[in-house]
Amino acid sequence: MTPELKGLLLVSAIKVLLVFVALLVGVLVVIWVERRGAGFMQDRLGPNRVGPLGLLQNVADGLKNLVKEEVVPARADRVIFYLAPLMSFVTALILFAVIPFGAPLPPFDVTLPLLGRVVHEGPIPLMVADLPVGFLFIIAISSVAVYGITLAGWASNSKYSLLGGLRASAQMISYELALGSSLIVVLLLAGNVMLSEIVAAQQRMVWFVFAATLAYLMLHIAAFAETNRLPFDLPEAEAELVAGYHAEYSAMKYAMFPLSEYVALITMSAFITTLFFGGWDIPFTAWDEQAAATWSLGAVLRTSMTALVFLGKTFFFVWVFVWVRWTLPRFRYDQLMFLGWKVLLPTALAYIVVMATAVLVLERWGIAQDWKYGLILFLVNVPLVAAVVFGLDRRRVLAGTQRRVPMEG
Protein backbone atom coordinates (compact mmCIF):
# COMPACT_ATOMS: atom_id res chain seq x y z
CA MET A 1 0.00 0.00 0.00
CA THR A 2 1.33 3.40 -0.88
CA PRO A 3 1.42 6.06 1.84
CA GLU A 4 -1.12 8.08 -0.16
CA LEU A 5 -3.65 5.25 -0.22
CA LYS A 6 -3.08 4.62 3.47
CA GLY A 7 -3.65 8.29 4.15
CA LEU A 8 -6.85 8.34 2.16
CA LEU A 9 -8.20 5.25 3.88
CA LEU A 10 -7.24 6.48 7.32
CA VAL A 11 -8.78 9.88 6.82
CA SER A 12 -11.94 8.40 5.29
CA ALA A 13 -12.33 5.90 8.11
CA ILE A 14 -11.98 8.62 10.72
CA LYS A 15 -14.47 10.85 8.92
CA VAL A 16 -17.01 8.06 8.47
CA LEU A 17 -16.77 7.17 12.12
CA LEU A 18 -17.02 10.78 13.17
CA VAL A 19 -20.07 11.51 11.04
CA PHE A 20 -21.79 8.28 12.03
CA VAL A 21 -21.31 8.83 15.75
CA ALA A 22 -22.16 12.51 15.48
CA LEU A 23 -25.36 11.70 13.60
CA LEU A 24 -26.51 9.10 16.09
CA VAL A 25 -25.75 11.32 19.05
CA GLY A 26 -27.38 14.15 17.13
CA VAL A 27 -30.51 12.06 16.66
CA LEU A 28 -30.74 11.42 20.39
CA VAL A 29 -30.35 15.11 21.08
CA VAL A 30 -32.87 16.09 18.40
CA ILE A 31 -35.47 13.67 19.72
CA TRP A 32 -34.86 15.09 23.17
CA VAL A 33 -35.27 18.62 21.82
CA GLU A 34 -38.44 17.57 20.05
CA ARG A 35 -40.00 15.98 23.11
CA ARG A 36 -39.03 18.67 25.55
CA GLY A 37 -39.80 21.40 23.04
CA ALA A 38 -43.23 19.89 22.53
CA GLY A 39 -43.69 19.84 26.27
CA PHE A 40 -42.65 23.43 26.72
CA MET A 41 -44.91 24.60 23.91
CA GLN A 42 -47.79 22.84 25.61
CA ASP A 43 -47.02 24.37 29.01
CA ARG A 44 -45.62 21.16 30.44
CA LEU A 45 -42.11 19.93 31.04
CA GLY A 46 -41.68 16.88 28.83
CA PRO A 47 -39.49 13.93 29.81
CA ASN A 48 -37.10 15.19 32.51
CA ARG A 49 -36.45 12.16 34.69
CA VAL A 50 -33.86 9.91 33.07
CA GLY A 51 -30.44 11.45 33.30
CA PRO A 52 -29.70 15.17 33.60
CA LEU A 53 -32.62 17.16 32.14
CA GLY A 54 -34.03 13.90 30.78
CA LEU A 55 -31.26 13.62 28.20
CA LEU A 56 -31.01 9.87 28.63
CA GLN A 57 -34.71 9.24 28.10
CA ASN A 58 -34.10 8.30 24.49
CA VAL A 59 -31.32 5.92 25.42
CA ALA A 60 -33.75 4.23 27.77
CA ASP A 61 -36.40 4.10 25.06
CA GLY A 62 -33.89 2.67 22.61
CA LEU A 63 -32.95 -0.07 25.08
CA LYS A 64 -36.61 -0.80 25.62
CA ASN A 65 -37.13 -1.16 21.89
CA LEU A 66 -34.16 -3.51 21.63
CA VAL A 67 -35.54 -5.98 24.14
CA LYS A 68 -39.15 -5.84 23.04
CA GLU A 69 -40.85 -8.65 21.19
CA GLU A 70 -40.71 -8.53 17.41
CA VAL A 71 -44.10 -9.13 15.85
CA VAL A 72 -44.40 -9.98 12.19
CA PRO A 73 -47.92 -10.01 10.76
CA ALA A 74 -48.93 -13.49 9.63
CA ARG A 75 -49.43 -12.68 5.94
CA ALA A 76 -46.61 -10.16 5.65
CA ASP A 77 -43.99 -10.40 2.94
CA ARG A 78 -41.15 -11.27 5.28
CA VAL A 79 -38.13 -10.32 3.24
CA ILE A 80 -39.42 -6.91 2.30
CA PHE A 81 -40.88 -6.42 5.74
CA TYR A 82 -37.40 -6.78 7.21
CA LEU A 83 -35.74 -4.85 4.41
CA ALA A 84 -37.93 -1.75 4.50
CA PRO A 85 -36.77 -0.21 7.81
CA LEU A 86 -33.17 -0.80 6.79
CA MET A 87 -33.77 0.96 3.49
CA SER A 88 -35.09 4.09 5.06
CA PHE A 89 -32.41 4.11 7.77
CA VAL A 90 -29.45 3.52 5.50
CA THR A 91 -30.54 6.04 2.89
CA ALA A 92 -31.05 8.64 5.60
CA LEU A 93 -27.53 8.01 6.90
CA ILE A 94 -25.83 7.97 3.50
CA LEU A 95 -27.16 11.41 2.64
CA PHE A 96 -24.90 13.09 5.12
CA ALA A 97 -21.82 11.75 3.35
CA VAL A 98 -21.64 14.61 0.86
CA ILE A 99 -22.33 17.51 3.18
CA PRO A 100 -19.28 19.60 4.10
CA PHE A 101 -19.39 20.40 7.79
CA GLY A 102 -16.28 22.49 8.28
CA ALA A 103 -13.35 24.25 6.70
CA PRO A 104 -10.75 21.88 5.17
CA LEU A 105 -7.85 20.76 7.32
CA PRO A 106 -4.28 21.13 6.03
CA PRO A 107 -2.50 18.16 4.39
CA PHE A 108 -0.20 15.95 6.44
CA ASP A 109 2.76 13.65 6.00
CA VAL A 110 3.55 11.69 9.15
CA THR A 111 4.94 8.36 10.21
CA LEU A 112 2.66 6.51 12.61
CA PRO A 113 3.43 3.40 14.65
CA LEU A 114 1.94 0.25 13.06
CA LEU A 115 0.79 2.10 9.95
CA GLY A 116 4.11 3.47 8.80
CA ARG A 117 4.28 6.58 6.65
CA VAL A 118 0.90 8.14 5.98
CA VAL A 119 0.44 10.96 3.50
CA HIS A 120 -2.51 13.06 2.53
CA GLU A 121 -1.86 15.44 -0.31
CA GLY A 122 -3.94 18.53 -0.62
CA PRO A 123 -6.29 19.86 2.06
CA ILE A 124 -8.56 17.39 3.81
CA PRO A 125 -12.17 18.35 3.06
CA LEU A 126 -14.43 17.94 6.07
CA MET A 127 -17.00 15.75 4.37
CA VAL A 128 -17.06 12.02 3.95
CA ALA A 129 -17.03 12.17 0.16
CA ASP A 130 -16.61 15.27 -1.96
CA LEU A 131 -18.61 13.76 -4.80
CA PRO A 132 -18.43 15.51 -8.17
CA VAL A 133 -22.20 15.01 -8.49
CA GLY A 134 -22.80 16.81 -5.22
CA PHE A 135 -26.37 17.60 -4.44
CA LEU A 136 -27.70 15.50 -7.31
CA PHE A 137 -26.62 12.62 -5.11
CA ILE A 138 -28.71 13.97 -2.27
CA ILE A 139 -31.77 14.36 -4.48
CA ALA A 140 -31.33 10.89 -5.91
CA ILE A 141 -30.81 9.14 -2.60
CA SER A 142 -33.53 11.05 -0.79
CA SER A 143 -36.01 9.80 -3.36
CA VAL A 144 -34.82 6.26 -2.70
CA ALA A 145 -35.79 6.80 0.93
CA VAL A 146 -39.43 6.74 -0.06
CA TYR A 147 -39.05 3.11 -1.14
CA GLY A 148 -38.44 2.18 2.46
CA ILE A 149 -41.74 3.72 3.46
CA THR A 150 -43.74 2.48 0.50
CA LEU A 151 -42.39 -1.05 0.76
CA ALA A 152 -42.99 -1.05 4.51
CA GLY A 153 -46.59 -0.15 3.84
CA TRP A 154 -46.96 -2.77 1.16
CA ALA A 155 -45.16 -5.62 2.92
CA SER A 156 -47.17 -5.27 6.12
CA ASN A 157 -50.28 -6.55 4.37
CA SER A 158 -52.52 -4.15 6.19
CA LYS A 159 -54.88 -1.63 4.67
CA TYR A 160 -53.74 1.25 6.82
CA SER A 161 -50.09 0.61 6.12
CA LEU A 162 -50.75 0.32 2.42
CA LEU A 163 -52.61 3.62 2.38
CA GLY A 164 -49.73 5.21 4.25
CA GLY A 165 -47.22 3.84 1.78
CA LEU A 166 -49.25 5.03 -1.18
CA ARG A 167 -49.56 8.46 0.29
CA ALA A 168 -45.83 8.57 0.87
CA SER A 169 -45.06 7.83 -2.74
CA ALA A 170 -47.63 10.27 -4.11
CA GLN A 171 -46.42 12.97 -1.77
CA MET A 172 -42.82 12.32 -2.61
CA ILE A 173 -43.46 12.66 -6.33
CA SER A 174 -45.32 15.94 -5.92
CA TYR A 175 -42.62 17.48 -3.80
CA GLU A 176 -39.55 15.98 -5.38
CA LEU A 177 -40.34 17.99 -8.51
CA ALA A 178 -40.68 21.29 -6.72
CA LEU A 179 -37.57 20.52 -4.69
CA GLY A 180 -35.52 19.61 -7.73
CA SER A 181 -36.58 22.59 -9.77
CA SER A 182 -36.02 25.06 -6.96
CA LEU A 183 -32.45 23.78 -6.71
CA ILE A 184 -31.77 24.51 -10.37
CA VAL A 185 -31.51 28.14 -9.38
CA VAL A 186 -28.74 27.31 -6.92
CA LEU A 187 -27.06 25.46 -9.72
CA LEU A 188 -27.29 28.51 -11.96
CA LEU A 189 -25.76 30.74 -9.33
CA ALA A 190 -22.94 28.48 -8.26
CA GLY A 191 -22.28 27.02 -11.68
CA ASN A 192 -21.39 23.75 -9.99
CA VAL A 193 -23.16 20.89 -8.22
CA MET A 194 -20.33 20.07 -5.82
CA LEU A 195 -21.47 21.10 -2.39
CA SER A 196 -18.00 22.35 -1.46
CA GLU A 197 -18.07 24.60 -4.54
CA ILE A 198 -21.53 25.85 -3.63
CA VAL A 199 -20.23 26.84 -0.21
CA ALA A 200 -17.27 28.57 -1.84
CA ALA A 201 -19.58 30.44 -4.21
CA GLN A 202 -21.60 31.70 -1.27
CA GLN A 203 -18.43 32.92 0.37
CA ARG A 204 -17.63 34.86 -2.78
CA MET A 205 -21.11 36.35 -3.22
CA VAL A 206 -23.74 36.36 -0.51
CA TRP A 207 -25.55 33.50 1.09
CA PHE A 208 -27.94 32.10 -1.46
CA VAL A 209 -30.86 32.69 0.84
CA PHE A 210 -30.56 36.31 -0.28
CA ALA A 211 -29.68 35.63 -3.87
CA ALA A 212 -32.35 32.96 -4.30
CA THR A 213 -34.87 33.59 -1.55
CA LEU A 214 -37.79 31.98 -3.28
CA ALA A 215 -35.84 28.81 -3.98
CA TYR A 216 -35.00 28.64 -0.30
CA LEU A 217 -38.64 29.02 0.70
CA MET A 218 -39.69 26.29 -1.70
CA LEU A 219 -36.92 23.97 -0.58
CA HIS A 220 -37.94 24.49 3.02
CA ILE A 221 -41.57 23.66 2.29
CA ALA A 222 -40.58 20.64 0.24
CA ALA A 223 -38.25 19.53 3.02
CA PHE A 224 -41.22 19.09 5.33
CA ALA A 225 -42.75 16.75 2.78
CA GLU A 226 -39.44 14.97 2.14
CA THR A 227 -38.93 14.21 5.80
CA ASN A 228 -42.59 13.27 6.30
CA ARG A 229 -43.05 15.72 9.08
CA LEU A 230 -46.05 17.73 10.05
CA PRO A 231 -47.77 19.51 8.37
CA PHE A 232 -47.13 16.88 5.66
CA ASP A 233 -46.96 13.68 7.69
CA LEU A 234 -49.78 12.07 5.74
CA PRO A 235 -48.05 8.69 5.40
CA GLU A 236 -48.17 8.39 9.15
CA ALA A 237 -51.35 10.34 9.93
CA GLU A 238 -52.04 8.64 13.21
CA ALA A 239 -55.52 10.11 13.38
CA GLU A 240 -56.64 8.51 10.11
CA LEU A 241 -54.29 5.60 9.43
CA VAL A 242 -53.49 4.39 12.96
CA ALA A 243 -49.78 4.84 12.33
CA GLY A 244 -49.71 4.56 8.57
CA TYR A 245 -46.81 2.73 7.02
CA HIS A 246 -45.32 1.52 10.30
CA ALA A 247 -48.57 0.43 11.94
CA GLU A 248 -47.53 -3.23 11.85
CA TYR A 249 -43.96 -2.73 13.01
CA SER A 250 -42.75 -3.34 16.51
CA ALA A 251 -39.62 -3.18 18.62
CA MET A 252 -36.37 -2.16 16.92
CA LYS A 253 -37.78 -2.50 13.42
CA TYR A 254 -40.29 0.14 14.36
CA ALA A 255 -37.66 2.30 16.02
CA MET A 256 -35.74 2.37 12.74
CA PHE A 257 -38.46 4.51 11.19
CA PRO A 258 -38.44 7.35 13.71
CA LEU A 259 -34.65 7.08 13.81
CA SER A 260 -34.37 7.50 10.06
CA GLU A 261 -36.93 10.28 10.18
CA TYR A 262 -34.75 12.20 12.61
CA VAL A 263 -31.56 11.46 10.72
CA ALA A 264 -33.29 12.73 7.59
CA LEU A 265 -34.38 15.76 9.56
CA ILE A 266 -30.81 16.55 10.55
CA THR A 267 -29.58 15.93 7.02
CA MET A 268 -32.26 18.13 5.51
CA SER A 269 -31.35 20.91 7.92
CA ALA A 270 -27.69 20.50 7.07
CA PHE A 271 -28.60 20.50 3.39
CA ILE A 272 -30.58 23.73 3.68
CA THR A 273 -27.69 25.23 5.63
CA THR A 274 -25.19 24.22 2.99
CA LEU A 275 -27.19 25.36 -0.01
CA PHE A 276 -28.65 28.58 1.27
CA PHE A 277 -26.99 29.65 4.49
CA GLY A 278 -23.35 29.45 3.54
CA GLY A 279 -22.62 26.01 4.92
CA TRP A 280 -19.77 26.32 7.42
CA ASP A 281 -19.10 29.93 6.42
CA ILE A 282 -18.83 32.39 9.28
CA PRO A 283 -20.57 35.57 8.11
CA PHE A 284 -18.81 38.95 7.83
CA THR A 285 -15.36 37.46 8.17
CA ALA A 286 -12.84 36.27 5.67
CA TRP A 287 -10.27 34.58 7.94
CA ASP A 288 -12.22 31.35 7.87
CA GLU A 289 -11.96 31.15 4.10
CA GLN A 290 -8.19 31.10 3.61
CA ALA A 291 -7.09 27.51 3.42
CA ALA A 292 -4.19 26.73 5.71
CA ALA A 293 -1.20 25.04 4.15
CA THR A 294 0.41 23.70 7.31
CA TRP A 295 -0.79 22.40 10.63
CA SER A 296 -1.00 25.06 13.26
CA LEU A 297 -3.21 26.02 16.14
CA GLY A 298 -4.87 28.52 13.84
CA ALA A 299 -5.79 25.87 11.28
CA VAL A 300 -7.35 23.59 13.88
CA LEU A 301 -9.13 26.49 15.50
CA ARG A 302 -10.46 27.62 12.13
CA THR A 303 -11.84 24.19 11.34
CA SER A 304 -13.44 23.70 14.72
CA MET A 305 -14.97 27.18 14.68
CA THR A 306 -16.50 26.64 11.26
CA ALA A 307 -17.74 23.20 12.29
CA LEU A 308 -19.36 24.78 15.34
CA VAL A 309 -20.99 27.46 13.21
CA PHE A 310 -22.26 24.77 10.88
CA LEU A 311 -23.66 22.88 13.84
CA GLY A 312 -25.37 26.01 15.08
CA LYS A 313 -26.99 26.77 11.75
CA THR A 314 -28.12 23.18 11.30
CA PHE A 315 -29.55 23.12 14.76
CA PHE A 316 -31.48 26.28 14.06
CA PHE A 317 -33.25 24.58 11.17
CA VAL A 318 -33.87 21.46 13.21
CA TRP A 319 -35.50 23.71 15.73
CA VAL A 320 -37.66 25.33 13.03
CA PHE A 321 -38.82 21.86 11.99
CA VAL A 322 -39.70 21.02 15.57
CA TRP A 323 -41.39 24.36 16.08
CA VAL A 324 -43.54 23.98 12.97
CA ARG A 325 -44.42 20.42 13.87
CA TRP A 326 -45.93 21.45 17.18
CA THR A 327 -47.77 24.37 15.64
CA LEU A 328 -49.45 23.28 12.45
CA PRO A 329 -52.21 20.74 11.94
CA ARG A 330 -51.89 18.15 9.18
CA PHE A 331 -52.83 19.20 5.67
CA ARG A 332 -55.70 17.48 3.96
CA TYR A 333 -54.59 15.29 1.09
CA ASP A 334 -56.02 17.48 -1.66
CA GLN A 335 -54.47 20.55 -0.08
CA LEU A 336 -51.10 18.85 -0.11
CA MET A 337 -51.47 17.98 -3.78
CA PHE A 338 -52.73 21.45 -4.56
CA LEU A 339 -49.75 23.06 -2.92
CA GLY A 340 -47.29 20.72 -4.59
CA TRP A 341 -48.59 20.67 -8.15
CA LYS A 342 -50.46 23.92 -8.58
CA VAL A 343 -48.46 26.29 -6.43
CA LEU A 344 -44.90 25.11 -5.91
CA LEU A 345 -44.19 23.56 -9.28
CA PRO A 346 -45.34 26.45 -11.50
CA THR A 347 -43.69 28.93 -9.15
CA ALA A 348 -40.45 27.01 -9.32
CA LEU A 349 -40.53 26.84 -13.10
CA ALA A 350 -41.31 30.53 -13.46
CA TYR A 351 -38.61 31.30 -10.96
CA ILE A 352 -36.04 29.38 -12.97
CA VAL A 353 -36.90 31.47 -16.03
CA VAL A 354 -36.63 34.75 -14.14
CA MET A 355 -33.40 33.86 -12.39
CA ALA A 356 -31.82 32.44 -15.53
CA THR A 357 -32.58 35.68 -17.31
CA ALA A 358 -31.14 37.67 -14.45
CA VAL A 359 -27.97 35.61 -14.39
CA LEU A 360 -27.62 35.89 -18.15
CA VAL A 361 -28.08 39.67 -18.08
CA LEU A 362 -25.55 40.03 -15.29
CA GLU A 363 -23.10 37.96 -17.27
CA ARG A 364 -23.61 40.15 -20.34
CA TRP A 365 -22.95 43.23 -18.29
CA GLY A 366 -19.79 41.55 -17.10
CA ILE A 367 -20.44 41.95 -13.40
CA ALA A 368 -18.00 39.98 -11.27
CA GLN A 369 -19.38 37.36 -8.94
CA ASP A 370 -18.88 39.20 -5.68
CA TRP A 371 -21.20 40.75 -3.14
CA LYS A 372 -22.55 43.29 -5.67
CA TYR A 373 -23.69 40.45 -7.87
CA GLY A 374 -25.51 39.01 -4.87
CA LEU A 375 -27.05 42.35 -4.01
CA ILE A 376 -28.51 42.77 -7.49
CA LEU A 377 -29.98 39.30 -7.35
CA PHE A 378 -31.40 40.08 -3.94
CA LEU A 379 -33.13 43.13 -5.36
CA VAL A 380 -34.57 40.92 -8.09
CA ASN A 381 -35.82 38.52 -5.44
CA VAL A 382 -37.62 40.99 -3.21
CA PRO A 383 -40.54 41.73 -5.58
CA LEU A 384 -40.76 38.04 -6.53
CA VAL A 385 -41.11 36.96 -2.91
CA ALA A 386 -43.59 39.73 -2.28
CA ALA A 387 -45.67 38.58 -5.25
CA VAL A 388 -45.68 34.96 -4.11
CA VAL A 389 -46.59 35.87 -0.55
CA PHE A 390 -49.36 38.08 -1.87
CA GLY A 391 -50.63 35.24 -4.04
CA LEU A 392 -50.43 32.61 -1.31
CA ASP A 393 -52.25 34.95 0.99
CA ARG A 394 -55.10 34.76 -1.54
CA ARG A 395 -54.54 38.27 -2.79
CA ARG A 396 -55.27 39.94 0.47
CA VAL A 397 -52.76 41.71 2.54
CA LEU A 398 -54.75 43.57 5.13
CA ALA A 399 -57.68 41.66 6.63
CA GLY A 400 -57.21 39.15 9.44
CA THR A 401 -57.48 35.39 9.15
CA GLN A 402 -60.48 34.85 11.32
CA ARG A 403 -62.98 36.26 8.88
CA ARG A 404 -65.47 33.71 7.69
CA VAL A 405 -68.19 33.92 5.10
CA PRO A 406 -71.47 33.53 6.97
CA MET A 407 -73.08 30.30 5.82
CA GLU A 408 -76.54 30.46 4.39
CA GLY A 409 -79.32 27.95 4.85
Binding site: W323, D393, V405
Partner: protein, 169 residues
Protein backbone atom coordinates in the same frame (compact mmCIF):
# COMPACT_ATOMS: atom_id res chain seq x y z
CA UNK B 1 -87.45 10.38 -2.74
CA UNK B 2 -84.80 12.38 -4.44
CA UNK B 3 -81.47 12.48 -2.76
CA UNK B 4 -80.56 15.96 -1.65
CA UNK B 5 -76.95 16.87 -1.49
CA UNK B 6 -76.21 19.63 0.90
CA UNK B 7 -73.39 21.72 -0.50
CA UNK B 8 -71.35 23.37 2.20
CA UNK B 9 -70.24 26.81 1.22
CA UNK B 10 -66.70 26.83 2.45
CA UNK B 11 -65.07 30.23 2.78
CA UNK B 12 -62.49 29.44 0.16
CA UNK B 13 -61.44 32.79 -1.17
CA UNK B 14 -61.25 34.38 2.22
CA UNK B 15 -58.87 32.15 4.10
CA UNK B 16 -55.13 32.07 3.93
CA UNK B 17 -53.02 29.64 5.84
CA UNK B 18 -49.92 31.75 5.48
CA UNK B 19 -51.06 34.26 8.02
CA UNK B 20 -52.55 31.63 10.30
CA UNK B 21 -49.28 29.73 10.21
CA UNK B 22 -47.27 32.72 11.32
CA UNK B 23 -49.78 33.54 14.00
CA UNK B 24 -49.68 29.95 15.22
CA UNK B 25 -45.91 29.96 15.34
CA UNK B 26 -46.02 33.09 17.45
CA UNK B 27 -48.48 31.45 19.82
CA UNK B 28 -46.43 28.30 20.29
CA UNK B 29 -43.29 30.34 20.80
CA UNK B 30 -44.90 32.47 23.46
CA UNK B 31 -46.02 29.32 25.27
CA UNK B 32 -42.47 28.10 25.22
CA UNK B 33 -41.56 30.82 27.68
CA UNK B 34 -44.60 30.64 29.89
CA UNK B 35 -44.57 29.00 33.33
CA UNK B 36 -45.25 25.29 33.26
CA UNK B 37 -48.06 23.58 35.10
CA UNK B 38 -46.56 20.09 35.43
CA UNK B 39 -46.68 18.58 38.91
CA UNK B 40 -43.43 16.80 39.75
CA UNK B 41 -45.47 14.01 41.19
CA UNK B 42 -43.56 11.92 43.68
CA UNK B 43 -41.85 15.00 45.07
CA UNK B 44 -44.90 17.22 44.94
CA UNK B 45 -48.35 15.97 45.75
CA UNK B 46 -51.76 17.44 45.37
CA UNK B 47 -52.04 18.33 49.03
CA UNK B 48 -49.35 20.97 48.82
CA UNK B 49 -48.75 24.05 46.77
CA UNK B 50 -50.36 24.97 43.50
CA UNK B 51 -52.45 21.84 43.11
CA UNK B 52 -55.21 20.80 45.43
CA UNK B 53 -57.96 18.23 45.25
CA UNK B 54 -61.53 19.37 45.44
CA UNK B 55 -63.19 18.51 48.72
CA UNK B 56 -65.82 16.78 46.58
CA UNK B 57 -63.24 14.40 45.13
CA UNK B 58 -64.52 10.82 45.29
CA UNK B 59 -61.69 8.40 45.93
CA UNK B 60 -61.22 5.14 47.82
CA UNK B 61 -63.54 4.56 50.72
CA UNK B 62 -63.22 5.10 54.39
CA UNK B 63 -65.43 3.68 57.15
CA UNK B 64 -65.90 6.02 60.07
CA UNK B 65 -65.75 4.59 63.59
CA UNK B 66 -67.40 5.49 66.90
CA UNK B 67 -65.61 6.34 70.18
CA UNK B 68 -64.92 2.70 70.92
CA UNK B 69 -63.25 2.25 67.57
CA UNK B 70 -66.06 0.13 66.13
CA UNK B 71 -67.36 0.75 62.63
CA UNK B 72 -70.42 2.98 62.66
CA UNK B 73 -72.13 0.68 60.16
CA UNK B 74 -75.36 -0.92 61.38
CA UNK B 75 -75.54 -3.38 58.46
CA UNK B 76 -78.77 -1.89 57.20
CA UNK B 77 -78.00 -3.15 53.71
CA UNK B 78 -78.73 0.13 51.95
CA UNK B 79 -75.31 0.61 50.42
CA UNK B 80 -75.05 -2.82 48.77
CA UNK B 81 -78.57 -2.24 47.56
CA UNK B 82 -77.87 1.08 45.87
CA UNK B 83 -74.37 0.36 44.62
CA UNK B 84 -74.57 0.44 40.82
CA UNK B 85 -71.37 -1.57 40.46
CA UNK B 86 -72.54 -4.20 42.94
CA UNK B 87 -69.16 -4.17 44.60
CA UNK B 88 -70.10 -4.03 48.29
CA UNK B 89 -70.30 -7.36 50.06
CA UNK B 90 -72.19 -7.21 53.36
CA UNK B 91 -73.01 -10.08 55.72
CA UNK B 92 -74.98 -8.69 58.68
CA UNK B 93 -74.67 -10.00 62.20
CA UNK B 94 -76.47 -9.27 65.50
CA UNK B 95 -75.02 -9.18 68.99
CA UNK B 96 -76.77 -10.23 72.29
CA UNK B 97 -78.33 -6.79 72.74
CA UNK B 98 -79.87 -6.90 69.29
CA UNK B 99 -77.46 -4.42 67.78
CA UNK B 100 -76.75 -5.14 64.14
CA UNK B 101 -73.20 -4.95 62.89
CA UNK B 102 -71.42 -6.12 59.74
CA UNK B 103 -69.84 -9.55 60.04
CA UNK B 104 -68.24 -9.10 56.65
CA UNK B 105 -68.01 -5.76 54.91
CA UNK B 106 -65.89 -5.64 51.80
CA UNK B 107 -65.64 -3.16 48.95
CA UNK B 108 -64.03 -4.20 45.71
CA UNK B 109 -62.36 -0.93 44.72
CA UNK B 110 -61.66 -2.29 41.25
CA UNK B 111 -65.33 -2.64 40.47
CA UNK B 112 -66.35 0.53 42.22
CA UNK B 113 -67.25 3.41 39.92
CA UNK B 114 -66.83 6.01 42.68
CA UNK B 115 -70.33 7.35 42.31
CA UNK B 116 -70.59 8.12 46.00
CA UNK B 117 -74.11 6.71 46.32
CA UNK B 118 -73.06 4.55 49.25
CA UNK B 119 -72.05 7.64 51.20
CA UNK B 120 -75.23 9.43 50.25
CA UNK B 121 -77.51 6.60 51.23
CA UNK B 122 -75.88 5.58 54.49
CA UNK B 123 -78.18 6.46 57.43
CA UNK B 124 -75.33 6.27 59.94
CA UNK B 125 -72.79 8.35 57.99
CA UNK B 126 -70.54 5.33 58.26
CA UNK B 127 -69.22 4.63 54.77
CA UNK B 128 -67.61 7.53 52.91
CA UNK B 129 -65.73 8.04 49.72
CA UNK B 130 -62.43 9.75 50.41
CA UNK B 131 -60.27 12.58 49.10
CA UNK B 132 -57.37 10.35 48.18
CA UNK B 133 -55.69 9.06 45.05
CA UNK B 134 -52.57 7.07 45.85
CA UNK B 135 -53.89 3.53 45.69
CA UNK B 136 -51.19 1.47 44.00
CA UNK B 137 -50.86 -2.17 45.08
CA UNK B 138 -48.79 -5.12 43.96
CA UNK B 139 -51.61 -7.68 43.97
CA UNK B 140 -55.10 -7.46 42.60
CA UNK B 141 -56.54 -9.08 45.73
CA UNK B 142 -55.33 -6.15 47.75
CA UNK B 143 -57.94 -3.99 46.10
CA UNK B 144 -60.75 -5.68 47.96
CA UNK B 145 -60.81 -3.57 51.08
CA UNK B 146 -62.16 -5.35 54.16
CA UNK B 147 -63.77 -3.71 57.15
CA UNK B 148 -60.58 -3.46 59.13
CA UNK B 149 -58.79 -1.74 56.26
CA UNK B 150 -61.70 0.61 55.62
CA UNK B 151 -61.71 1.65 59.25
CA UNK B 152 -57.96 2.16 59.27
CA UNK B 153 -57.98 4.72 56.44
CA UNK B 154 -57.15 8.21 57.64
CA UNK B 155 -57.58 10.42 54.58
CA UNK B 156 -60.25 13.15 54.62
CA UNK B 157 -63.72 12.13 53.54
CA UNK B 158 -65.51 13.62 50.60
CA UNK B 159 -68.17 16.29 50.99
CA UNK B 160 -70.51 15.22 48.27
CA UNK B 161 -72.27 17.64 46.03
CA UNK B 162 -75.13 19.24 47.89
CA UNK B 163 -78.06 20.28 45.71
CA UNK B 164 -79.03 23.03 48.16
CA UNK B 165 -75.52 24.44 48.00
CA UNK B 166 -74.36 23.73 44.47
CA UNK B 167 -71.19 25.78 44.69
CA UNK B 168 -70.04 24.40 48.01
CA UNK B 169 -70.07 27.73 49.82
Amino acid sequence: MAIRVKVMRRPEREVSYLRATLKGMAVTFSHLLQPKVTMQYPEETAQEGFWHLSSRWRGTHRMLTDEQGRAKCVACGLCPQICPANCIKLVPGEDEDGHRYPLIYEIDEFRCVFCGYCQEVCPEEAIHVGVHYENAEYQRERFVYDLERLCAQTHPVSTLWDPSDPRGE
